[in-house]
Amino acid sequence: MNAVLQDTEHTAAAPLAVRGLVHCYEGSNVLAGVDLALEPGSVLGLIGRNGAGKSTLIRAMLGLLEPLAGEAFVFGEPALKLSDDAKARLAYVPQQPEALAWLTAQQMLDYVGRFYPRWDATFARKTLERWKIQPNKLLAKLSPGERQRVDLIRALASQPELLVLDEPAAALDPVARRELLREVALRAGESGTTVLFSTHIVSDLERVASEIAFLHEGRLLLRCGVDETKERYARLWLPAKMSAAAPAQALSRRRHDDGSLSLMVERDACGQWPEAAKLPGARVDALGLEDLFVEIAE
């Protein structure tokens, strides 16, 4: 009972938390019972293939869509019924933002800034200058990368406690991407901003994320610290004659043409690999984050 109570309180205190989220589009399941909670001050990288459900999960987490089942909370409030106070503490940048195309970059920032109590107009102005974006150009006439950067300025200038970015680097060039990641790391490190960002660029995760969550076909397959992944997950290769002894629990399983088997396995509570790893001919390969991602996603 106490454990349940503690879990509920923990979820309520988290800047962002979801329980049992289920959603589908036109009959196909996009989210199949996702549970996720962010620790205050953490930087969580949500990774997954295209169509894995990352954007849908983020939108459901922020109350931008009504899921078929499950619940989402932002600062302990139901995401679909957020108060003005909770909204003032969070900022969200969608994938390929297209809002207010009829305003200039300066007008958009000026407009949005009037609603946020901690709006940093100086930051907005200086970052526009630093990122070489013409303030008097209509947003519709900016390139996708420029538009994404204006929206990032909009999000950062509100000085949020929770920053949610959906594929923030997708349209950015390498220089802009690095600047963005630096800014995100700075916010998390200095101001304690909690950050959730989705991506399929693994190097971005390694650069700023403290944790990763892997979403695959609407399910959260793994969640751990970025530094832990090499220690905690590995590829177990079993020759054909040993494949019958493969562990039942594996993140992914692939049989090769010669009958041998590759499995993504996780250390158990005692820090041990599955028993099959000790079989003669079996091999355990440590994987980098990108290989881990590819192995699971394939």
Partner: protein, 504 residues
């Protein structure tokens, strides 16, 4: 390097023949086929039943209308195919489009010429008229859109210029020479524009300088009844010239005036604008009106000065009041529906911004503010237009019932807008067949209610009015009930939503 020239791709005859079929949308194909077929049958019927000596002139004109439509809206879609083939470097397809054009041009021209010629028609006249219709139809869609606007005024210009120069009548032998010259000019224009559009890498599809054909690429009103819904606001802004870009007026916007703030977020004609912004936004509508006035002046140029001035004022006055009041109201209603529909369709634009914008209050307060923003300005403008229309109706001494019908047309436009906007905000999606039926009935009733009362203003009113006007009134009552039902479904959907900024 031309890929097509360097590769020897064999083009099957069936592919060439069916190229127009594959290069156009289904709805466009069927609409064009039906119109062409009806015109063909009409031409035959006219030929069979006409007692006149020159019966074939009527048959040719009817057929020319149908074939002109086909060569305006269907055959030029081959150019879209050729453009795509060129850009994607698809071998052979560009040539197939060109062959297909010639292959379809031959029977379009030869069949009526031979058929009518066999029945005793003058084949030279038939050939020239049909060829003119085909080349002219293609020119309308290939030339920039502003040319089509000017072409619309040619009847007025030809009437106005009749005192200075007159085209030879049909029976005049010089007509063949004049027609031949016009045909040569049109063919030259068609060939030039075909080549220019084919080799252009510009994506400008919506500007005044773009060809009407380029708009057939998206689901235009010709190809799909709800084609305008496909237009993206950002794309429209990108393709508008700088001097026509409406600028937002951000004064008095913020927490103290959330309704005004929401109007900025809704954009389009909802957006509060500066004075110059209003003028820039209205430019596409103002330009034709500004053209209309000199056109009317030219039309009446031959009349005595005092009479000309009087009739110009009268025609312009009625035209402006009628155009702006009645059809302007309908357009505004359609634009409001369209803007809201577009905003509630996109998940990565204004909706997430508004849903997470602090200061708009709880769900109830946000709903209230949104409804005021969505309905406030359109309803005020519609009422103003209604007042103008009623004033014009009173000046024309229309009967009480006729005035009521005109007012009902305007109010129905507001009602349809309200119902549709509520459905969009509430996430209620009526069946497309239901919506199409409602809007067809609305359009028919709107036109009847607008034009039928004008008949009562005549010195000798049409006798059927006594029956038609009460029937119209009854139809409006039925339509109002349907719109109320639709609006109620939308309203209930809106109430059921946790907040109104959820995308559809």
């Amino acid at each position: 390097m031309d890929m097509n020239a360097s590769t020897k791709v064999r083009i099957p005859l069936a592919g060439v023949l069916l190229a127009p079929w594959h290069s156009s949308r289904r709805s466009l194909r069927w609409l064009t086929l039906v119109i062409t077929l009806l015109c063909g049958l009409g031409a035959i019927a006219f030929g069979v039943f006409s007692q006149k000596a020159h019966w074939w002139v009527g048959s040719t004109v009817i057929y020319a209308f149908g074939i002109g439509y086909l060569w305006a809206f269907w055959m030029p879609t081959l150019l879209l195919l050729a453009i795509d083939a060129r850009r994607l470097r698809l071998p052979g397809m560009q040539r197939a489009a060109a062959y297909s054009l010639w292959l379809h041009a031959a029977p379009s021209l030869l069949v009526p010429v031979l058929a009518l010629g066999a029945c005793g028609a003058d084949m030279r006249y038939v050939a020239e008229l049909v060829a003119l219709a085909m080349a002219g139809g293609a020119a309308v869609v290939l030339l920039p859109r502003w040319c089509a606007m000017v072409i619309g005024f040619t009847p007025a210009l030809s009437i106005g210029l009749r005192h200075l120069a007159q085209l030879p009548p049909w029976s005049d032998p010089r007509w063949l020479a004049w027609g031949g010259l016009a045909l040569f000019a049109l063919l030259a224009v068609d060939a030039w524009r075909w080549r220019q559009l084919l080799h252009s890498d510009s994506d400008n599809e919506l500007g005044f300088g773009s060809a009407m054909l380029m708009q057939l690429r998206r689901q235009s009103t010709l190809g799909h009844w709800n084609g305008l819904q496909q237009l993206d606001g950002g794309q429209m802004i990108r393709q508008r010239p700088e001097w026509m870009q409406p600028r937002a007026d951000l004064r008095r916007i913020g927490l103290q005036s959330p309704v005004r703030a929401l109007r900025v977020a809704l954009g389009g004609w909802y957006m509060p604008k500066t004075l110059s912004g209003h003028l820039r936004a209205a430019a596409p509508a103002l330009l034709p009106i500004l053209l209309y006035i000199p056109a009317m002046a030219i039309m009446h140029a031959g009349e005595s000065r005092s009479r000309a001035a009087q009739s110009i004022l009268l025609s312009t006055g009625i035209g402006v009041v009628g155009g702006l009041g009645v059809f302007g109201g309908l357009m505004l209603a359609a634009m409001a529906m369209l803007v809201v529909h577009q905003r509630w369709k996109r998940t990565n634009a204004e909706l997430p911004l508004l849903a997470l914008l602090p200061g708009l209050g709880d769900a109830r307060a946000r709903r209230h503010v949104l409804l005021r923003a969505a309905f406030g300005t359109p309803v005020k403008v519609q009422l103003l237009l209604l007042a103008c229309v009623l004033a014009a109706a009173l000046v024309m001494h229309l009967s009480g019932l006729a005035v009521l019908l005109v007012a009902l047309a305007q109010l129905a436009a507001v009602g349809a807008m309200a119902a549709q906007v509520l459905c969009t905000l509430g996430g209620y999606k009526p069946h497309v067949g239901v919506l199409a039926s409602i809007y067809v009935v609305l359009a028919v009733l709107f036109c009847l209610s607008t034009f039928v009362p004008l008949l009562s203003a005549d010195e000798h009113p049409w006798s059927g009015l006594a029956l038609l006007e009460p029937a119209l009134l009854a139809s409006w009552i039925v339509l109002a009930a349907v719109l109320l039902w639709l609006g109620r479904r939308g309203w209930r959907g809106l109430l059921a939503r946790p907040h109104p900024f959820l995308a559809n």
